[in-house]
Symmetry: C2
Subunit: 331 residues, 2 copies
């Protein structure tokens, strides 16, 4: 098993990407292809590489403001496209990138194509609640979709919840603006009618409910999903900043405020993108992990370990089989 | 100036509504019509009513599960419809209800009709950030809209920001999944093209940006707006619960955790719906304040005071004039 890492993608690339790869190497049970401009990568690496890291040259790189299709069509030797080709050629099973998200999604899609029966890829992002958390699908890949596509997101989200969250029989909720059948806009009502044919469908859930009730998979289109994700990130930061801002500057009084630091600490694992590492792009003939553009070395390390977990748990095969079974699709 | 209060609407009605009215009365510079079943209201009231509270009988009440149009058509003597009629007849300027939101919106719309040039009403909800907060429009009234309707929401949101938030020249952002022009789904891109004709348009804003950057008015359709609102409510509760849950039970250790309580307190005014009181339904020939179904007496009191502020600042007239000016509409 191998992972191809786009070493040139991300705000802090290649430095943070290389460091993250080195941090992950001891825990990786697979070969890691570090894909990028070898002349730029070598000075960042130790004289002797860990035995499971292999440098793989790519002369170009995708910039953050490159348009997704332009990146794919015009930069045929970009670290992103070369990493995707390693998967296409069977040399790697997964590709990890912290670069331009649109370009990474488009390049993975155009290089690998969708699994049979899947029309749109979707990003799966885990979010916390008091019941072990849930996964929201689609968190940003496909903003303009038809109701049918959300059924595919539901099936893919169930595979994620089974394989990466340990939920044996995940239920799916539709994110909506009311709980009862018949609530919502035209799109949500149409999705409800399609989802209710499946026994794993648990009905509508509201924005508040997903953070307070037990749930496994919450589906929505990427426009809504991305706004939920970013809104949550922004609000969590606002709350934590507001709390921290009240700790007095006077060192003597400040020392009495140690419990505040203590109670804030457990929020980090579920709200810090660097802990979460990255989110998989589901629905393709290959495993693609999309990382935050601002990824630190620690974020890259965690993304690589999470990708390994998805590989070892056969996430892609599980999705392929689930789509065949639930939608009656044959290859 | 008078306000008509639907005394029978809400999970805690009529008790909490009546109590809220009594709490608000000393601060109200207007007559308050307490609309509902007089036989049920009288036992909750003191023998001598405050001089500015007037009981107004209505024999029926809308239930939380009544369908909005059924409530309007079949319950012609409901406290909600009677309160709306008081406004229609010029006896009151504003109507306040904590009952069935859909029924309250539909009844106000059908009784009062839209202001000239406004096609869909919209709910304006204030949200906090480090820069004095912003208002999101539409937070729940009109889920299926055309791009043109969001321009109306923008104009109405600006009137709200001017009159109730003290922003002299409010800017409008479009809630989107990327900051640059051209980002978003088909709908958002179409809205952008319409909004950019106005000099108060400040471009796209992401879910994270509205909680971290200075902004006045953020527009979106009601499906997205309601999910933003409920997601924020749910996440804020999750964070505060997670923090509180770590305070040790042992009373001696617990006593050392007083700073946690202290730092959490300032979050309340901006995150507690009871403090905010209610949200106005903008765009109608009358002022309608929609309160949370779970409204306590304090929430009702605050909603009444906020409604008075909107009346005194001529929110409805401001919207009427702004629509005429910005969209070139004449009566």
């Amino acid at each position: 098993m191998s992972i191809a890492l786009d070493a040139m993608g991300g705000d802090n690339a290649p430095q943070a990407i290389v460091e993250g790869a080195l941090q992950a190497a001891p825990d990786l049970r697979s070969t890691l292809y570090l894909v990028g401009d070898v002349a730029k990568l070598k000075p960042l690496l130790p004289p002797t590489l860990p035995s499971n890291i292999v440098l793989h040259h790519a002369s170009q790189q995708v910039e953050m403001d490159d348009k997704p299709l332009d990146a794919y069509r015009k930069k045929k030797d970009s670290s992103l496209l070369v990493a995707c080709r390693l998967v296409k050629e069977g040399k790697a099973e997964a590709m990890v990138s912290a670069g331009n998200t649109g370009a990474a999604s488009a390049t993975a899609l155009l290089t690998w194509r969708q699994l049979p029966g899947v029309h749109r890829p979707a990003i799966a992002s885990p979010l916390p609640n008091h019941h072990g958390g849930f996964v929201i699908v689609d968190a940003g890949a496909s903003p303009d979709v038809d109701p049918e596509h959300l059924v595919e997101f539901a099936i893919m989200g169930r595979a994620y919840a089974q394989k990466l969250m340990g939920r044996p029989n995940p239920r799916v909720h539709l994110l909506n603006i009311g709980e009862e059948e018949g609530k919502g806009n035209i799109f949500a009502r149409a999705v409800y009618q399609l989802l209710k044919k499946h026994d794993w469908f648990a009905g509508n859930i509201e924005g508040k409910g997903m953070y307070s009730q037990p749930c496994d998979v919450v589906v929505c289109d990427a426009f809504v999903g991305n706004i939920v994700l970013k809104t949550s990130e922004g609000l969590a930061e606002l709350i934590v900043d507001t709390i921290r801002g009240q700790i007095p500057a006077n060192p003597v009084v400040r020392s009495l405020y140690w419990p505040v630091k203590k109670v804030l600490a457990p929020l980090r694992p579920s709200m810090d993108y660097a802990e979460i590492g990255g989110s998989p792009l589901l629905g393709l003939n290959g495993l693609c992990t999309i990382c935050h553009g601002r990824s630190s070395a620690r974020a890259i390390r965690n993304a690589l370990l999470k990708t390994q977990l998805a590989m070892e748990n056969k996430l892609v095969d599980t999705i392929r089989e689930a789509v065949q079974r639930d939608l009656g699709v044959t290859e």
